[in-house]
């Protein structure tokens, strides 16, 4: 789908004047500062920013793991309600996440099957016969090019980082949420397996039509994967638009600086032009 078509797709998640202030005694720090956004169905959105720009705080608020200081989040056109645990569970059926560190995403005392079993319980209920359960797990593993027969009865430490992250995607495939929030899923994985993970996320989007929110600091990655890019600086979105528009023709000074800081292949990388306003 083209960028214009995606912009006319139904809204999936949107936020109005979303703010998060961390208060510690008399010191307060605004991590996310009155941001507005509209995420459409089937869109791949990248949120790009440096460390400390509030990307992760925003993602935690979207997931409902952090309370919102002010502002509202709309989920499928209605205001999001996560007061009670039941509401929260219902919300988490619609939004799921993959995190940065695959090694700490697993319970090291449980076998890998348990991870997939939990997902099946969450989506299809506890009372599902054994054969169906096995079939679902096999299907999910083959979606991410893993062999279920080789993985069953193994513990997480027996897998490599890339395999673990792929199993996380298999989990998402079983759950089929409307929104997937990927918080730097490839930053701890080397360049070869990175391509596999990205292709799987795109395949997941194409097959199930889910919205993928991709949080990253790597602009090359954001440019490759996303339809829409949001650039974040000090808790504010300084620029947003289609990937081609933002990355190839940046308008904001911050975006220009970020892009000039990335080493490139076809253009010269000017090392003398560095930003020295480091705190």
């Amino acid at each position: 789908m083209t960028y214009e078509e995606l912009q006319n797709a139904p809204l999936c998640l949107s936020g109005r004047q979303l703010t998060k202030v961390f208060v510690n005694g008399k010191v307060s720090k605004t991590a996310v500062d009155h941001v507005d956004f509209d995420f459409h169905q089937g869109e791949v959105i990248s949120i790009v920013g440096e460390s400390g720009s509030g990307k992760t705080t925003l993602s935690k608020m979207l997931l409902g793991l952090l309370n919102v200081t002010s502002g509202t989040i709309y989920f499928k056109g209605e205001e999001r309600k996560i007061r009670t645990m039941a509401q929260r569970r219902a919300y988490w059926n619609g939004i799921q996440a993959i995190f940065q560190d695959p090694f700490s995403s697993y319970n090291i005392f449980h076998k890998i099957d348990a991870v997939l079993d939990d997902c099946i319980n969450m989506r299809y209920g506890r009372h599902i016969d054994k054969q169906k359960r096995e079939d679902l797990k096999t299907e999910a593993c083959s979606f991410v090019n893993l062999k279920y027969a080789e993985l069953t009865n193994k513990y997480p430490f027996e897998l490599s980082g890339g395999q673990m992250q792929r199993l996380m995607i298999a989990r998402i495939f079983l759950l089929k949420p409307q929104i997937l929030l990927a918080d730097e899923p490839t930053s701890m994985i080397d360049a070869c397996s990175r391509a596999t993970i990205l292709d799987m996320l795109l395949k997941l989007r194409d097959e199930t039509g889910m919205t993928v929110i991709f949080i990253t600091h790597d602009i090359g990655l954001a440019y490759y994967i996303s339809d829409t890019v949001y650039i974040m600086e000090h808790g504010k979105f300084v620029e947003s638009g289609s990937a081609d528009e933002v990355i190839l023709h940046p308008k904001a000074a911050y975006t220009k600086r970020l892009i000039s800081d990335v080493p490139k292949i076809h253009e010269e990388w000017n090392l003398d032009d560095v930003f020295t306003g480091e705190e």
């Binding site: 440096e50 460390s51 059926n93 619609g94 090019n145 490599s160 980082g161 890339g162 395999q163 089929k176 949420p177 409307q178 994985i189 080397d190 360049a191 070869c192 397996s193 990175r194 391509a195 596999t196 990205l198 292709d199 194409d206 097959e207 199930t208 039509g209 600091h217 790597d218 602009i219 090359g220 990655l221 954001a222 440019y223 490759y224 990937a243 081609d244 990355i247 190839l248 600086r257 970020l258 892009i259 800081d261 990335v262 080493p263 490139k264 292949i265 076809h266 253009e267 990388w269 090392l271 003398d272 560095v274 930003f275 020295t276 480091e278 705190e279």
Partner: protein, 369 residues
């Protein structure tokens, strides 16, 4: 060839596991590094990049053991030396190392000034504190680092500052060879640029003689180093200048690596990334023939049994494959043409589906939630 600073001949090192199994993580690696040059080592995780760095320093502590080969730094063979001698006489002065996690490299309980004094006393026990302080201040000024940071603790510095301080401290004795093991992979792009600029300035000012840069970020290597070596399963599979390696890789594995580059440049969005399938071989039982056999797209029947030595080709390049350069290039051109044809077909198909309104097929796959 008088200005060769580091020469490594057929270096082999191994890990001995609990069960007395030998794992050859660095297998017959040869390289030579001239003054003022830098060399980059690329490869996926677990291919032996960091083990090579430790081996080059002569830093053999169990389970890492030296097996055979020579390491000659500026005419001095350090390969048979004891680790303690190496630590006292070679590390810091001849060869220095920047670790990946600068956060853990600094002592959290003391100020940077005290830390530098400790480092210097390890090498020159009789050196006076004020002398060391003057030296550190001069060096910090030379590298445009704030001198005030000498009186701070490690926790008070930001990630990029910490990495720069670690670099300044590890090169305080003007080493001939600097080994940088992923110095910027934990930093964001802006701090990465500052760190890289500092390394370049140090090379220009002659504070370090030459540099070995280890990372898996290929665009960075292309911009930083003169030569690039690609490692796979403990062996070097290809070596060449940076431009040759990025634009004209010969070995199938390096080609796979170069295909996974992501840069924010026009046109890169339309190129499909091709990942290398499979995982690297287990080095406890390395394959008999080519180590890349299982994952290679262009494998031949003889590859499984015949181990290939590394071969020199025109220029300063080396590669390790059964097939000749011309054969490989032919295969690559054919593959590129095929991919282009497929993409053109895809575009036509997509357009047809769109015109006839049939692209709603994916909606049916979606279950109700």
């Amino acid at each position: 060839m008088s200005n060769v600073l580091l020469e490594v001949n057929q270096l082999t090192t191994k890990y001995i596991t609990r069960f007395r199994e030998d794992v050859y993580a660095v297998d017959h690696v040869s390289l030579s590094l001239e003054a003022g040059k830098s060399i980059g080592i690329a490869g996926e995780s677990g291919c032996g990049k960091s083990t090579l760095a430790l081996s080059l320093m002569g830093y053999y502590f169990a389970p890492l053991h030296y097996q055979s080969g020579d390491i000659i730094i500026d005419g001095k063979n350090i390969s048979g030396m004891k680790p303690d001698d190496v630590r006292r006489n070679i590390l810091g002065r001849e060869i220095a190392y920047i670790p990946q996690a600068a956060m853990n490299a600094l002592n959290p309980t003391c100020k940077i000034r005290k830390f530098i004094r400790d480092v210097m006393h390890a090498h020159y026990p009789k050196m006076r504190d004020d002398e060391i302080d003057r030296m550190a201040e001069d060096r910090f000024r030379e590298l445009n680092l704030p001198v005030d940071s000498l009186d701070l603790h490690a926790v008070e510095l930001s990630g990029g500052m910490k990495q720069r301080v670690v670099i300044a401290v590890s090169t305080i004795l003007k080493p001939k060879v600097l080994i940088a093991d992923e110095p910027s992979s934990a930093l964001d792009v802006s701090s990465q640029k500052v760190v890289i600029r500092m390394l370049r300035d140090m090379m220009n000012a002659g504070l370090i003689g030459s540099m070995i840069f280890i990372t898996h970020e290929l665009p960075l290597l292309y911009n930083v180093t003169d030569d690039i070596m690609v490692m796979y399963a403990g062996q070097i599979v290809e070596k060449g200048t940076a431009a040759e390696m990025v634009f004209d890789p010969i070995h199938p594995y390096s080609r796979g690596l170069m295909r996974s580059i992501l840069v924010p440049e026009e046109g890169t969005r339309n190129i499909k990334l091709t990942a290398i399938p499979g995982t690297p071989p287990n080095l406890k039982k390395p394959p008999q023939g080519c180590r890349f056999y299982d994952r290679c797209r262009y494998r031949q029947p003889q590859c499984q049994y015949n181990a290939v030595p590394i071969a020199d080709i025109e220029g300063n390049r080396q590669y390790r494959c059964q097939l000749s350069v011309d054969q490989l290039r032919e295969l690559y051109t054919a593959e590129d043409a095929e991919a282009e044809r497929k993409q053109a077909e895809d575009t036509v198909l997509q357009k047809f589906l769109k015109d006839t309104g049939m692209n709603s097929a994916k909606e049916e796959n979606r279950d109700d939630i």
